[in-house]
Symmetry: C2
Subunit: 335 residues, 2 copies
DNA sequence: TTGTACGCGTTATCAT
DNA sequence: ATGATAACGCGTACAA
């Protein structure tokens, strides 16, 4: 099973190896007829363009490294769609590296991409300190997606604005006791808390931020307690859809109706929010567009390494569904 | 920014390039002390092992190509976890290629992997005719995952058995009018229909197979009609979780209670089945284990190309949750 | 269009 | 045992 090489094609076509290379790259310097002839012979011989050798010769620079934090999270699938779209438009090859949930650092996958000698890396959901990211950025230019890293090209969503949208929506519906179920302190999405708190204070209301977890079950337990209290909120804004589902679990367990007795907003607009009978109001980050933008920046950075730092802050939008509704009026509900 | 090469390390360490290579591969032929010395210097120089050059030199064969049909489907995330686990145990590099939903053929991603000169390919959810798959298999050995392809190493789930499990469960609960919401005819999972029909006939009942689609909305519409009829089934077995969700939508719309008025079983045991208040009974394919097994076969095939065809048929399991319950007794329900 | 010097490890052959 | 030398893998790019 000796693999066919360009040398074989050259011999069979009666031309030089260099010309075969030119033909396969759609480069200048070969007549249309000869090109056709070469490709036909290549076809017959079952030749597949050897990207390994090509990358070595070009020092790999034409390919784009893509890091995705977690395949189990559909957000990254959206992001990948956007990245691929732009990469294909520009005829760039993608090299993928996937994070692992067990690990808290993403240094290894980045090193893998560097080992593949990619020219630039789009990293979605990087779990790395700013300093470590800067170190990697010095070796191969990085574009951080979904996280704003100082000193590194970044494409991210305006989390503060998203939280404001969510909070405003609840305020407009007449809610006054609105709680924020916050991310675990580690994950850096503090802007969501800030946006929520700012809007509440603007409205002359007391913010009530409740620290929760990533686990739907744990969130449900916390929500159960919160909703049973005398001063229970009439609306909850959750740091992501999964947490929002936990809140909905608690609402169901208490025999209440989401959108009527208690309003709930999530964050991510993931498909998990639209299971039957769920129909969660949520903030959409526009993952596909984030992917597109990040790849555009990556291409620009690659062609002009000395460009000053680039960034794109995207505006999220609120997708209103049925888990939010007018504030129940009358006296506070007691369970 | 000239990248450091083994040559640089060799110079700095006062040894030959060959020895550096040996050190970096943990190969025989270098004393522990020298090895240590070399690696330290490599570290200082910020060297990252160049996989491109390495793959070219070894003719790439040590890496495993992985094709995943769809990142939006969490099943493939599970599969990938299993693949990675085994690959890492054996110190093999993975090269990824992702299918696209718009396309119906997966020839392009396979060609990409061949271009990366991988030694063997694990392909999960291949959309290719048996013949085309065989052609690809001749170039680079293929292991088909989740689909049994004659003449190609395959690791797949026993769909017939899964359908039998589901149907048996409903029969044991006392259901008699059980409908199967079948896959679109194109997708080849005919075994699920067969398993269902066999069990029904065994029980002396009439199978009722209803052809549906992949779209949850369309399934819901069909289910609405079916459930409104006088001879409405008391239980539905759906070809996958998404379709099952559509059925649940219709049940909710009709004001009925799943698990009490109508039982529903899905297929895939995906996380979509566990939204709040959903808790879908489903058949689990064990994606992670499929990934592991496929990779084991791939490694074996790679080391012994002339082995006769290998395959693993895995047994699915039924995960009982709350959308299935005893058949409602008494007269047929009328809406 | 072609000849040919790379790109960067790997590995078989030699030398000590 | 350790280490060195040199040929090789397969395209790419530039001068001729």
């Amino acid at each position: 099973m000796a693999r066919t090489t360009m040398e074989d094609i050259a011999r069979a076509a009666g031309v030089s190896r260099a010309l075969v290379s030119i033909a396969y790259r759609n480069a200048e310097g070969v007549s249309a007829a000869t090109r056709e002839h070469i490709l036909t012979i290549g076809e017959e011989l079952g030749y597949v363009h050897n990207r390994v050798a090509a990358n070595l010769a070009t020092r790999g620079s034409r390919s784009i490294g893509v890091y995705l934090q977690d395949l189990h999270n559909e957000f990254f699938a959206d992001v990948y769609d956007g990245i691929r779209e732009v990469a294909e438009d520009h005829d760039r090859e993608l090299v993928l590296a996937i994070g692992r949930r067990e690990r808290d650092s993403d240094a290894a996958p980045l090193t893998t991409l560097q080992g593949a000698r990619v020219g630039v890396i789009v990293a979605a959901g990087l779990r790395l300190s700013d300093e470590t990211a800067l170190l990697h950025n010095r070796r191969v230019p990085l574009v951080s997606l979904a996280r704003d890293i100082p000193g590194i090209d970044s494409v991210y969503s305006d989390n503060r604005r998203g939280a404001e949208l969510a909070t405003s929506h609840l305020l407009e519906l007449g809610h006054r006791r609105i709680a924020f179920f916050a991310n675990p302190p580690s994950d850096g999405y503090l802007d969501r808390a800030r946006g929520y708190e700012a809007r509440m204070l603007e409205a002359g209301l007391d913010p009530r931020t409740i620290e929760t977890s990533y686990s739907r079950g744990e969130v449900a337990a916390i929500a159960g307690d919160v909703l049973a209290a005398a001063d229970a909120p009439t609306a909850v804004f959750a740091h992501n859809d999964r947490a929002a589902l936990g809140v909905l679990d608690a609402i169901a367990a208490a025999g209440l109706a989401p959108g009527r007795d208690v309003s709930v907003i999530g964050y991510d607009n993931s498909s998990a929010g639209s299971a039957p009978g769920t129909d969660l109001t949520s903030v959409d980050l526009h993952g596909v567009e984030l992917g597109r933008q990040a790849t555009e920046l990556a291409l620009r950075r690659h062609s002009r390494p000395d460009l000053e730092r680039q960034f794109v802050r995207m505006q999220p939008t609120l997708v209103v569904r049925s888990t939010t509704g007018p504030a129940p009026h009358g006296l506070p509900r007691h369970v």
